[in-house]
């Protein structure tokens, strides 16, 4: 569940990287990367299509062909499902790159997810499951969420191995198969598979981090994700006796639901500042000279200045960073065009500020709707998410890799508005850092989960280099 940062930002971290020509993949490595990316994007790993195991097997084959022993490459099938998403047989991929000899350091976990959000042909300009290169972009579902990261980690490990690199501590890969829906793979990873993963010291998640450039090509900054909002789904349900549509009743399930949605549209949750977001906005305001920066300064000076927080929230670059947000994402109602609806439901997707109990948000939604015929229920039982402490070694490795490719680029910590597989690991005591190296143009390329998802062609190849640099830094010393 990819969050892409959206800001011009202050350089929160200093870099020790010397200015040099940015490193590049070789022509052969580009060809191999392209082929892998095309193969995985063209595999429609949407829930219900049973394609994740196929993608996991393909990647397992790539690792083995790259010299990783078959005994350390495991496709782990598992079941995912819930009332709202349907069921599927999916799979995780677990690969262990063992350090020679014995290492006292615990492994580094590399994380990603192989599944993607549904994309309908009729809603897209090109077939979302046929990788299409056009105008310097790769188009297709999963190009930035997150088959770019899957491809980058896999290619980086294959390239490092081919170059003779030997890690000084184990590197363990966990690619899950249901991050976009039920997150069961990550829950298993943080519990029953934790032995197999070697109880990692920390995780590096490719489903987080990343950076961007503004439309005028100026750097918009890269972020390192250390906290995330809690993902929680709610269902609004309205029931009615129904009847023949030639005789409309005064009460109608669809109208009651629409009225409730209009109230949610008008509502704003109370703004909140946390340690992470305070640091983030403290960095942001230094480079924002205009009204947005003024609002940040006013809000930091007075956290009760709701007007300033509302102004920040309304900025396209800061959506979701000042408070809990809830939005309707799906509608279902009725059973025939000539019958009054007996049932109408809406899915409300909430991203809850870290530390706030999702049950409290359910109560708040009930108050907003203020209609006892509209029943609010939770779709899952997620608990409030936690933040990971900043580690100097990870921060330095990320910043150095970013600066090797993008000299002078601002880098700063971030609370993700999305939720990811990182949550159960953070809850289990394994800190996780979102440190992907892909970049996009902001805000035009913010298309994760949306129409015509895309990634700049060069960004895909830079991301492979980025992961090579990170791994050399964190596992090579």
């Amino acid at each position: 569940m990819r969050y892409l940062l959206a800001t011009a930002a202050a350089a929160a971290f200093a870099s020790s990287a010397a200015a040099a020509a940015p490193p590049q993949l070789t022509a052969a490595q580009r060809t191999a990367t392209h082929a892998m990316f095309e193969h995985v994007v063209n595999t429609p790993t949407v829930i219900g299509r049973h394609k994740v195991p196929e993608m996991a097997e393909y990647l397992a084959g790539q690792f083995k062909a790259g010299g990783f022993p078959a005994a350390d490459v495991h496709v782990v099938p598992y079941h995912t499902g819930s009332q709202t998403t349907g069921d599927d047989e999916t799979a995780a991929l677990i690969v262990r790159w063992r350090a020679p000899g014995t290492s006292s350091a615990k492994p580094i976990l590399l994380m990603g997810h192989m599944d993607v959000v549904e994309a309908k042909r009729e809603d897209s300009t090109t077939d979302p499951f046929v990788l299409t290169e056009q105008d310097g972009y790769y188009y297709g579902r999963g190009t930035i969420d997150m088959k770019d990261g899957i491809t980058a980690i896999t290619q980086a490990m294959i390239n490092l191995r081919a170059a003779g690199f030997q890690p000084k501590r184990d590197i363990v890969v966990l690619f899950t198969g249901d991050e976009e829906t039920n997150g069961i793979g990550a829950k298993k990873g943080a519990t029953e598979w934790l032995d197999q993963l070697g109880h990692p010291e920390f995780g590096l998640n490719a489903d987080g981090g990343g950076g961007g450039f503004n439309p005028d090509k100026s750097p918009a900054g890269f972020s390192m994700q250390t906290a995330e909002k809690t993902f929680a789904g709610y269902t609004l349900t309205v029931r009615n006796r129904g009847g023949h549509s030639s005789k409309p009743r005064k009460d109608n399930a669809i109208y009651s639901l629409a009225h409730a949605l209009d109230k949610i549209e008008a509502y704003r949750f109370a703004p909140t500042l946390s340690e992470t977001t305070r640091a983030y906005f403290a960095g942001r305001e230094k480079l924002e000279k205009g009204p947005l920066g003024d609002a940040m300064r006013r809000w930091l000076a007075n956290p009760n200045d709701g007007e300033a927080a509302d102004f920040i929230e309304a900025s396209e670059s800061e959506v979701g960073l000042t408070r809990t947000r809830c939005v309707p994402t799906r509608l279902f109602a009725g059973h025939a065009d000539n019958a009054l609806p007996q049932l109408a439901t809406a899915m409300i997707n909430c991203r809850i500020f870290p530390g706030v109990d999702p049950n409290a948000i359910k109560t708040e939604l009930e108050k907003i709707v203020a209609d006892p015929t509209v029943v609010v229920t939770r779709n899952e039982d997620n608990v409030a998410s936690l933040a990971s402490p900043l580690r100097p070694d990870v921060t330095a490795a990320y910043t150095n890799a970013i600066h090797a490719l993008h000299p002078g680029m601002p880098v700063f910590p971030e609370m993700s508005t999305g939720a990811s597989d990182a949550r159960p690991f953070r809850v289990a005591g394994v800190p996780v850092y979102g440190v992907n190296g892909a970049w996009v143009q902001v805000p035009a390329d913010f298309r994760a989960h949306g129409k015509d998802e895309r990634i700049p062609v060069q960004s895909l190849y830079d991301n492979v280099v980025h992961w090579q640099l990170m791994l050399r830094d964190l596992a090579g010393k």
Binding site: S246, D337, N338, G450
Partner: protein, 478 residues
Amino acid sequence: MKRLIAALFLAGAGVPALAATDPRTVPSQLPAAWQAKTRELFKQVIETPSVEGRGQTQKVAKLLADQFRAAGIPESDIHIMPYDALPGDHTAALIVRWRSPKATKKPMLVLGHMDVVEAKREDWKFDPFVFREEGGYFLGRGTSDMKNGDVATTMAAIKLMSEGFKPSRDIIFFYSGDEETRGVGATLGSTKWRDLTEAEFGLNADGGCMSFDEKFRNLGCAVSTAEKTFQTYFFTTHNPGGHSSRPRPDNAIYDLSDALEKLRAHRFAPMLNPVSRAYFEQRAKQEGDNKLGRDIRAWLADPNNGAAADAVEADPLEVGHTRTRCVATMLSGGHADNALPQSATATVNCRIMPGVDPKDVQAELQAMAGPKVEVKPDPNYLGVSTPASPLRPDVFAAVTKAIRSLYGNSTDIYPIMSTGASDGSFFRAKGIPVYDVDSSWGISPIDERAHGLDERVPVNAMYNDVVYWTMIYKQLAG
């Protein structure tokens, strides 16, 4: 598409409290020999499953055609017209002309349909396509919608022919083969095949006009002379969407919800036409001096009294009778729980007043919904605006005489505008007035099973319907 029986007037002050004789126990006036013939034909057509896509409708047409042929109708006046309805549905219409030796009036059309709604064996208590007689009922798919009408209109003609009756006008029988799905047969019958169907007016046997309540009170005969036009519209909103963790200011679901809030509040202008005026005059009598009765009289006295019309429309008995109504019936939107919706669609089902163009309703809905919402008619069914048929004194006199001779002189006969839709609408749209006058009945609401499970018709309602149609032919073509 059998219309809903208007069996509503239980509280009506004008309904006489008749002795509670179970109408199902009153012997039919149809002679025993003709009961046997009727039963045999009814059995054959019920056991021919003329459901969309099963290719059986032509067999029903042949069964009916054989009856006319045996009674002496020449081959040149019997036309089985094959056509395709829904894709893959090879069906047929039957057109038969019973010529007058010396016609003094323009022809009269008798309408019916031979197709039935699907019925599944596992849903029913018994096989829906095996004819049964049980407990005073005939049972099976089509026994009330409307193979009963096909058989009654055919049998009545055969009986009169056997008695040497010569009509004073041509009587044309038109039985379609896809009324329940597309209405292609009625469309062709009212246009391309018009040289075979041209008539002064039509009598539709689809849906009985009568009913009794569960205390066996006679609720009268409501003759549908007009139909609202059925038209479904789709309200669609579009949005670039995106990740649900970053809500946009605009949202396809919010845009649609805003339009639905407007739709909930929207009221079309009230309209009175000759049918609804006659209907409400009857209703005012039945209601007497209660609030509804007073509201109806106030509206009839001043058709511009919108407040009175609104009060009438708000009464549960009168919903849909004062104006066009549109209601949201289905919703779909979005593609994933964690993605902003790229599109959202509401299905809005409209029942449009006779004579109003569905395009005008579309324009009114579009103006109401605003530019963020696209309002389009369902391309699979484009409703045709239908004028109300004028109240013909000859038709009402014939129906009144025949109904009262069978069910008593206190039986009320009155016009009604159907809120449903049938083959009649296609002929009305092309200038042939149509009246739904079949006399069959059931106990309301327990026998209202058209399109539903365990469909049935009382045995004597079926046999009496044959008698009824002989009287109608004699009255209107005698």
